[in-house]
């Protein structure tokens, strides 16, 4: 009964969403605010309907109702009930429901904010969001209903994929999916403004930027959490492998990073209006490509969690939105004339453009490498793989260039910069880079690439630090104490200083990536109980193994006593679990983590008599990657924090006070 009401709720949600599309569009055409309003309420109602459907599915999971196909395929009697949350999105149909409810909730908030501030844009934007939701609901109702019944009820379910049984799986997949689908919101706002003929009127920019940054932040966290999951559970000591699914999550992130920067140029200078539309279209297209590759696309991957033909339907929808947005863009392109003019080739504006193109270049190269195997196979029947070595070689330099731009861009003033001014501003950053370079030359193992990379990081940090110190001091001289002066500085121009905080977190991320890629030490050791080995400063003794049998898995725990120099670090206990039903082995590394380096042990094979093969790694600076997450959130929130601005309507310029150059 409950399952059936859930099914009914899904159908009703489909109808309500369809109505929202039609009523919004017709309402605008007929100039009827009532019709627009009813469309909006139709859209709002989907949140409740989807909640009913989700509740029905959860109920089926909790009561082990294996007559529901999705429940039978994704859970079992043995599954702990806490994993119901994971099982909800572990399969295809369930993940659609998850996407739908998350999107409808976010869209509810978005429509609520646009409605008042962008009255002309709102109906169009609502219609576009409703169309995205309509697609998800149509797929569920007609193709992959999470609540459909089985004819024969099995006694037990098939169980959940054991790789998903990890704390990271409680958050990484939902955050990643949320990030991808939330990209639809800034896209809808931008396209809505364009359709309403308001694309050249910069009123959509603030909300577009806000939602763009929200999507960016969620995507970032999704990527970070995914890397963290890979690092702790996939058990090979790394966190990023340029796997197709990882790439497909990275590409929309790259595009959205470009977007949150270029939108600032429109906000500040009334320029880049066409460009912003182009980028958000690319961003949403790549987000859909991400969902497509993740859903049983054509490229094999560790992460594609549900093999099915559904991916191709996503591809179809992606092609449709791409063609439709290009058509809208072309038909309205004359409303997007720039208000400002680029005054100099050397200015913050031009740095932003260079940054944008660099990000898109990385996205393009990543896309190219990801889909190349398909090309090659169709064109010449040769199956090849494009993997980590390719991406490291090709994307590495581009990413380094982006970090370099991060050091230069913020130092350039808007409008017009001079070479002399730039050199003056770069004095301290370059000095810092020089010092770091010198240290590496004197003491370091001479890794030229890593040295240059760390020098670039130092340059960025010194640039930000220098500006903060200067700003704080100039406020201090006006009588504020240092702490207050610093806080006031940060809150005076939040987009700017929030951006700096995010830049610092990116440098932390980069430092972790550089440190662990260039200075990682890895050994594979065969050890018997009682053996002691030493790597670097770490001395560790393998004391023995304990075995535990569970209904669904066999676990081997290895015990180590670990010392760093003479300091006892404690016992470390990595383990390996074998799931016979799934023919999957899952290992969990034991990690002793400090900001300096991680000491990482993971078992790769156990043989009789307690002898085992262990992989032992020293990964420098990985800690900084995970620490960058909270700082990134803080920076983004600071950049988003609303600021009381004088209302543009009341800000009239007295003749004669108009700044030159307008």
């Amino acid at each position: 009964m409950i399952v059936e009401s859930g099914q009914l709720a899904l159908v009703l949600a489909l109808l309500a969403t369809g109505y929202a599309v039609v009523a919004s569009v017709m309402g605008v055409a007929r100039r009827s605010p009532e019709l627009v309003m009813s469309g909006r309420y139709g859209f709002y109602s989907t949140v409740i309907l989807l909640l009913v459907a989700t509740a029905a599915l959860v109920h089926a999971f909790v009561t082990n109702d294996f007559s529901v196909r999705y429940v039978a395929e994704n859970s079992s009697l043995a599954m702990p009930k806490a994993y119901t949350w994971v099982a909800l999105y572990a399969g295809n149909a369930g993940s659609m429901l998850f996407l739908a409810i998350i999107f409808s909730a976010f869209a509810l908030v978005a429509v609520g904010t646009i409605r008042k501030r962008l009255p002309y844009t709102a109906p169009y934007a609502t219609a576009i969001m409703a169309m995205v939701l309509l697609f998800l609901l149509a797929v569920m109702v007609f193709l992959a209903n999470p609540l459909s019944r089985l004819d024969v009820v099995p006694l037990d379910g098939q169980g959940i994929n054991p790789l998903l049984v990890h704390f990271g799986m409680f958050i990484h997949p939902p955050v990643q999916m949320t990030g991808l689908i939330v990209v639809a919101i800034p896209f809808s706002i931008a396209m809505g403004a364009l359709l309403a003929g308001k694309g050249g009127n910069d009123e959509w920019v603030d909300l577009g930027r806000t939602w763009g940054m929200i999507a960016w932040l969620i995507l970032t966290l999704g990527l970070l959490l995914g890397s963290w999951w890979a690092y702790t559970i996939l058990g090979w000591g790394g966190y990023w492998a340029w796997d197709p699914v990882e790439n497909s999550a990275l590409m929309p992130w790259l595009a959205m990073t470009a977007f949150v920067h270029s939108i600032m140029v429109q906000k500040r200078r009334g320029m880049f209006r066409m460009w912003n539309m182009v980028i958000i279209i690319i961003g949403f297209t790549l987000a859909q490509l991400g969902m497509f590759i993740n859903r049983g696309g054509p490229v094999p991957s560790v992460h594609s969690f549900a093999q099915s033909a559904m991916g191709w339907i996503f591809l179809g929808f992606m092609a449709f939105t791409l063609v439709a947005s290009i058509a809208v863009f072309v038909s309205k392109v004359d409303t997007l004339k720039s208000r400002g003019r680029l005054e100099s080739m050397l200015s913050r504006e031009s740095a932003f453009l260079a940054q944008n193109i660099a990000f898109l270049a990385v996205a393009f190269v990543t896309l190219w490498g990801t889909v190349f195997p398909i090309f090659s196979e169709t064109a010449s029947d040769v199956t090849i793989t494009v993997g980590q070595p390719f991406f490291n070689l090709v994307n590495g330099p581009l990413l380094l260039f982006i970090v370099f731009l991060m050091g230069i861009g913020p130092l350039l003033p808007w409008r017009r910069a001079t070479i002399g001014g730039l050199i003056r501003a770069l004095r301290i950053p370059l000095a810092a880079a020089g010092v770091v370079g010198l240290i590496f030359m004197i003491v370091g193992p001479r890794q030229p690439v890593a040295t240059v990379a760390f020098m670039t990081c130092a340059m960025v940090l010194a640039g930000i630090g220098h500006e903060w110190v200067r700003g704080t001091q100039s406020r201090h001289r006006k009588g504020e104490n240092y702490a207050k002066a610093f806080m006031m500085l940060l809150s005076a121009n939040r987009p700017r200083y929030g951006g700096y905080v995010v830049h610092i977190s990116i440098i932390m991320l980069a430092a972790g990536a550089i440190g662990s890629s260039f200075y990682s030490v890895q050994r594979d050791l065969v050890m018997s109980p009682g053996d002691t080995e030493t790597i670097g400063e770490y001395t560790f003794t393998y004391t023995g193994t304990t075995h535990q049998s569970h209904p669904d898995r066999e676990e081997d725990y290895a015990q180590f006593e670990v010392y760093s120099g003479d300091t006892y670090l404690g016992e470390m206990e990595p383990f390996r679990a074998v799931y016979p039903d799934f023919r999957i082995a899952s290992t969990r590394g034991a990690i002793h983590s400090t900001p300096l380096e991680d000491f990482y042990i993971v078992p790769s094979d156990f043989s009789d008599g307690g002898q085992a093969v262990f992989r032992v790694l020293i990964n420098p600076m990985v800690w900084w990657m995970w620490a960058s997450g909270p700082i990134m959130i803080l920076g983004t929130l600071l950049a988003l924090a609303p600021r009381r601005e004088p209302s543009p309507a009341t800000l009239r310029v007295p003749a004669g006070m108009r700044p030159a150059g307008v």
Binding site: G235, A241, D243, P244, R269, S301, V302, K337, S338, R339, R341, M345, L353, I357, A361, F364, W368, F372, F375, S376, S380, V382, I384, V386, G387, Q388, F390, A431, A432, V435, I439, F440, G444, G465, H466, Q473, S474, A511, G515, Y519, Q522, R523, G536, E537, A585, S586, T587, L596, S604, V613, I618, P620, P648, L651, V653, P654, M657, R658, P659, V662
Partner: protein
């Protein structure tokens, strides 16, 4: 130079020194582990393992994978290296058995060459695009429209410089010891 300016210079120098010292410590920390104590053969094994894909576990290198096949392939790599095989010989050995897709890096010949050629071309095109884009934006004149009227709505940038000028004007009146201009 006024006293304030000297003070500012002194402070920023102190902070700069501290920051540089911190960076130096960080850099030293990174260089503490050189990994020189790893046998050459083991290092070679690892770099080869990272370039060979596990044929039955999509997208994972044999270095990453926990699959039994990957485990045995890892030991084959180590064995052959001890026997004096070169890296290329070992790669060929696996390509013969599993086809070219077993290598994670596409070969630099035939159709796969395209995989390598396009990215640098894309970079050249990108540099060109930035240049053309900037040129184009230099030439395009701004829309004249309402800019000259009295009711201009200012961008943030303009508001800021506008308010800065007002603030500067107020500053001149407010400060008891007069304007703080460099002497």
């Amino acid at each position: 130079m006024t006293y304030r300016n000297q003070n500012y210079m002194k402070n920023s120098k102190t902070i700069l020194t501290v920051a540089l010292a911190a960076l130096a410590i960080l850099a030293l920390a990174c260089t503490s582990n050189t990994g020189d104590d790893i046998p050459e053969i083991e290092r070679k094994t690892h770099s080869l393992n990272k370039a060979i894909m596990c044929p039955v576990c999509p997208g994972e290198s044999i270095d990453q994978s926990q699959n039994p096949l990957a485990v045995s392939m890892r030991s084959i790599v180590a064995e052959k290296l001890t026997d004096g095989w070169t890296g290329d010989q070992i790669k060929d050995f696996f390509v013969e058995r599993y086809g070219p897709s077993v290598l994670l890096e596409p070969p630099r010949e035939g159709i796969s060459l395209a995989a390598w050629v396009l990215p640098p071309m894309a970079v050249v095109v990108a540099i060109f695009a930035v240049f053309i884009g900037l040129r184009w934006m230099r030439r395009t004149t701004a829309i004249p429209s309402a800019v000259t009227s009295e009711n201009t709505v200012l961008t943030l940038d303009e508001q800021e410089s506008y308010f800065r000028r007002i603030e500067a004007a107020l500053d001149l009146d407010d400060t008891p010891d007069g304007p703080s201009l460099p002497s």
